[in-house]
Every structure is written in C-alpha cells, then in structure tokens.
C-alpha cells in the first residue's frame, strides 16, 4: 500500500518535472532568438590583461527580476541570516565545514558526468577518484583527503557549463526566487543536474525531507559566509545590476575555464618566468659570496595544495635559520598546481637537504630527492 503511494507520488512528480522542463525549453527557444546577437565568441582572445567584451545582458524581465531580487534580499535578512546565526551558535565551525564538504561530495556525479560530456576525460577521472577517496578515507565526504593528501583538486563542471562549452548562448537573465541569479541555459542545466543529485531522489520519495535537507544545507553554508552578502550590497551602487553582471562574468569565465588555477592562462609566459623566480630568489636568499644564481632543481619537496604550502613556509624558515638558502615556488605538472621547496645543489647545502628530507618525511604528498 505504502509502496504504491510512493510510486504514485513519484509518477506525479516526474510528470510535473517534465512539464517544468518543457516550459523551460519553450522559454529558452524564445530567448535564444533574442540572444543570438550576444553569443560568446570563443576564438578571438582579448589582448593580454584586457577583459573580453561580453556585451550587454539580455534582461527583458528586469521588472519581475527586480521583484524577486528584492524578495531574495528580504529572505536573506529575515530568515536565512537569523537562522544561520542561531545555528552557528550551537554548531562548531569545524563541524559546519565538514557538513559543507559532505554535500559537495554528494554532488560528485554532476561533476563526473559533465566533465565527461565536455570531453574532459582526465578531469572526469580526477573527480571520480576524488569521490571514491573522499567517500571512503574522507568518511562520506566529511573531509577532503583527495585534495589535502593526494593533491587532486576539484574540477567544477555542471550542465549549464557543458551547454555553454558547446556554444549555446545564455538566453535571457533570470533572478529566481530562492535560487537566485541564473539564465535560461543555466536553469535548464540546473534541471538536468537535478537528476544527478542524490538529494533530489530523497525529495522524490519524501518531498518534505528533500526540502528540509536543502534548507539545512543552505543554512549550513550561509553560516560559513555570513557578512558576505552585506559586503556585496554595500560595495554596489545598484546591487541588482551588480549581481546580474557578476553572475554573468563568473559563468562565462567558468565555461572558458579561465577562472584561474587553469594552466592555459600561464602558457605564454609561465615556463620562463618560473625559472626566473627560482633563480632570482635563490640569489637573494644566498649568502653574499654566492652572487651567481644557483639552479635549484636538485632537491625539492612538493605539495599539491596551498594549505600544505604553509608547511613549506615553516620548513623554509627552519632552513633559513640554519643560514642556508631555499626557495618556495609554484609550478605545475600534469595540469596540477603544486608548491615546491627547493634547496640548491652543492655540498654546502648537504645539511640543508638532510634537514629538508627529515622535515618532509612527515606529512607531505610527495617528497622527491634528486641526485
């Protein structure tokens, strides 16, 4: 009996969802025509340091969007903020950060599938590995050992980005109540990604629980970012326009994967400047007698994330206290950024290398000794 009810509920839910999807498609079809003139052109790169001109946003629904913006604003100040304040009073920050990463881990299917859909097979693999590692070693995603111990950085992709990567225009701008800024493309993307989210399936069998979980997640995440929305509003002259533009810039950068951390940005100059850094700082860190720059690639300890990079700084200070030179550099290999501590070659630095080796024995992703 109960089973049948659930089945019926699910059927009704799916048919409703199809209807929503159809409406979205209809709106999108209409707005694509309007957005044709503004589609992103991918092949001409702007001059170095210059912003790509992303044209004007299509916002025919501005009056309605402004109403929803206002609604969301009040929702934040009257509901979300007080709730998050109360919640953060009882729950320690560390716990809240764990909850946040738990939900992030749950959404791994979205990232795995969309990386794959965009032909980023390697990144899709990275996300899969992250999901497996974090779900097991990371205790259901409460921690992120994949990043902290294995240097596997998240590759954030969603269906909206996938469609954008295939050249689909954004359509008109929406400011949805509760969900916030979006556009036609990303709204469809959101609907598609919905099927890849475990929380949605919970919502299908028990919509009350689904809403509760979403609300809980929202409160948890907000508790970690209290004050940010206030800052945003204070800095803007017209917060509605500021948010619309920021959303647009953010999504376009995401689609083109240049929101930094991406290596494509550096390609033109990274190799030469990296080398230069290593040399120059080696020079300045050395005793006076070593005016000649030392090429510092004989020994390094490397870490994959900037959290761990702090350990390198501590190590570097220890080495400097021993009056020996060392350099901390940022580099990349196989598309991953890593931070490296280098100690110059030569007998003079033998004790420093030993010390670095000793220090690196504890807690680094990888320590490599050359020569």
């Amino acid at each position: 009996m109960g089973k049948r009810m659930i089945m019926e509920k699910r059927d009704r839910f799916i048919s409703q969802l199809c209807r929503v999807c159809f409406c979205c498609l209809a709106i999108w079809a209409g707005s694509v025509a309007m957005a044709v003139g503004q589609e992103v052109v991918f092949d001409d790169e702007p001059a170095f340091g210059e912003e790509r001109d992303i044209g004007l946003v299509s916002d025919p629904l501005e009056p309605m969007n402004r109403v929803f913006f206002h609604f969301n604003d009040k929702l934040y100040f009257w509901v979300l903020k007080p709730a998050s304040h109360g919640y953060s009073y009882f729950i320690a920050e560390d716990v809240r950060m764990c909850v946040r990463s738990f939900f992030k881990n749950l959404l791994a299917p979205v990232r795995i599938v969309n990386n794959f859909l965009q032909g980023k097979v390697a990144d899709s693999g990275v996300e899969t590995a992250r999901f497996i590692l974090n779900s097991t070693l990371g205790i259901a995603g409460l921690a992120d050992p994949a990043k902290n111990e294995f240097g596997l950085l998240p590759k954030d992709e969603d269906l909206g980005q996938t469609m954008g990567a295939y050249g689909l225009g954004e359509g008109i701008y929406f400011c949805w109540p509760v969900l916030g800024p979006s556009n036609v493309r990303d709204t469809i993307g959101l609907a598609g990604d919905f099927f890849l989210s475990p929380v949605s399936y919970l919502g299908m069998s028990d919509s009350g629980a689904g809403v509760a979980v979403q609300a809980g997640r929202e409160v948890n995440n907000t508790s970690l970012t209290l004050g940010e929305y206030e800052d945003f509003k204070e800095s803007a002259i017209d917060p509605y326009v500021a948010l619309r533009d920021a959303y647009r810039q953010y999504r376009q950068k995401k689609i083109r994967d240049v929101a930094v951390g991406s290596d494509s940005v550096y390609i033109s100059s990274s190799n030469t400047s990296q080398k230069k850094y290593a040399r120059d700082t080696t020079g300045s860190g050395l005793p006076e007698s070593h005016a000649e720059p030392v090429v510092a690639d004989n020994f390094f300890v490397q870490v994959g994330t900037s959290f761990e990079a702090e350990k390198l700084l501590v190590m570097q200070q220890a080495l400097l206290a021993m009056n020996t030179a060392s350099v901390v550099t940022v580099s990349d290999r196989a598309g991953l950024n890593f931070y490296a501590l280098e100690v110059p070659a030569g007998e003079k630095f033998e004790s420093a290398r030993q010390e670095a080796k000793r220090l690196s024995a504890a807690g680094f992703s990888e320590a490599r000794v050359g020569q």
Partner: protein, 210 residues
C-alpha cells in the same frame, strides 16, 4: 543541487579581501626586484606593519591609521585608470573637472567599502602564486584561503614610467572594474552624468557617516 546561490556572496566579500589581502598573510612569494609580485607583496608588508603597530591601534589614532593605509593603497592602485575603465566611452565625454570629481568619488567609494573592512577579517591566508608579464602589463595570481576554500584573486597591473600600478582586481573570475562599468552604464542609460555623481555622493556620504 548545485551550489548556485552561494558563489556570488563569496565573490563580493572576497573583493573586500582583495583589498585586505595584503594585510593578512604574506604567504609564499618569490620574485625579483621590480617584479609585479614584489610590488603587490610590498603593499602587504607595509599594511601588516601598520595593523600590527599597537600604538596605532588606540581608538584616538584610528583616523591616522586609516589614513596611513589609504596612502599605501593610493600608491599601489591607479584610481584614474580604474575610473577611465569603469566609465569607458562616457569618460571622454566629460570635462576634466568632471573627470577629477568622478575619480575622487570612485576612489572614496572603494576605500570606504573595502579598506574599512580589513580589520573585521581574520584567519585568512594569502598565497601569492606566479605572475604573468607581457610588455607593460602584468597579472599577479594569488589564492585567498578562508575556511578551507581557496578563492583565486588576480591583480592586474600596468607599468607607467617604470612604475607598476594595479588597475583591476579579479576575484573568482569577476572583474571589479567591469562590474562597476556595467552598473555605471546601466545608471547612465537612465539618467545623466549629474545623476550618477549624485548617486555616488550619496553612497560615499553614507559610508563616511558610518
């Protein structure tokens, strides 16, 4: 579902931190003299020394402390260039007096909203990554780490007469100057320049009163 409504809060508050970044942690930096990374990091060290100066922390000297930080920021940021870029085509249509007034107001707005926040943040770390240089332009890449989240913050610099100056800050891919440009363009499509100036004056006045 995806974390769609969360990112923008971060973007803006990190904009705040982009100004504050220098203050928080020198982090890793490796560069030569006259290097843009060093240029940005120098501002860091100077502001740190001001914030750590206990004598300046006294309430009576609050104004002096802020002025000192403003001096440093004004040395590092090119507010005229930022204003030109933010007004875009409207800039050329303005008289020199109007341009100066705009630069002053825009600069004050940025200082009021961003610089004043520096002291309210804690526990953030900044890691300076590498810089890309091409001709007289440079981009300094850094990561701001807060509550286990890394946010990319890029400083865009231009070299005039052998002096670097920051003309834009990009947080999580969102350019500060472009964001203001869109706002200014939207306001100027509805009202004249005097109206924009009035809006800025109101905003700046509010900030000063707080």
């Amino acid at each position: 579902m995806k974390n769609s409504s969360r990112w923008y809060l971060m973007v803006f508050s990190v904009c705040v931190l982009a100004f504050a970044a220098p203050v928080l942690h020198p982090g890793i930096s490796c560069a030569a003299a006259t290097d843009p990374v060093v240029f940005v990091k120098d501002a860091v060290d100077e502001i740190i020394s001001i914030l750590q100066d206990e004598k300046l922390a006294a309430p009576a000297r609050k104004a002096e402390r802020k002025n000192r930080m403003v001096t440093i920021v004004e040395k590092k940021f090119d507010f005229r260039e930022m204003s030109m870029r933010a007004l875009a085509r409207h800039w050329r249509e303005r008289s020199p007096a109007e341009q100066d007034r705009f630069v002053f107001l825009f600069k004050t707005l940025l200082e009021n909203t961003y610089l004043a926040k520096i002291e309210t943040y804690s526990g953030e770390k900044v890691v300076f990554k590498k810089a890309a240089v091409q001709g007289n332009r440079a981009i300094v890449y850094s990561d701001l780490i807060r509550k286990n989240v890394e946010t990319p913050v890029n400083y865009k610099l231009k070299n005039n007469d052998d002096r670097w100056a920051v003309y834009d800050v990009e947080v999580e891919g969102v350019s500060l100057v472009n964001n203001y440009r869109t706002q200014f363009a939207s306001i100027l499509s509805k009202e004249n320049f005097a109206g924009l100036i009035a809006k800025l004056e109101e905003k700046v006045g509010k900030g000063a009163a707080e």
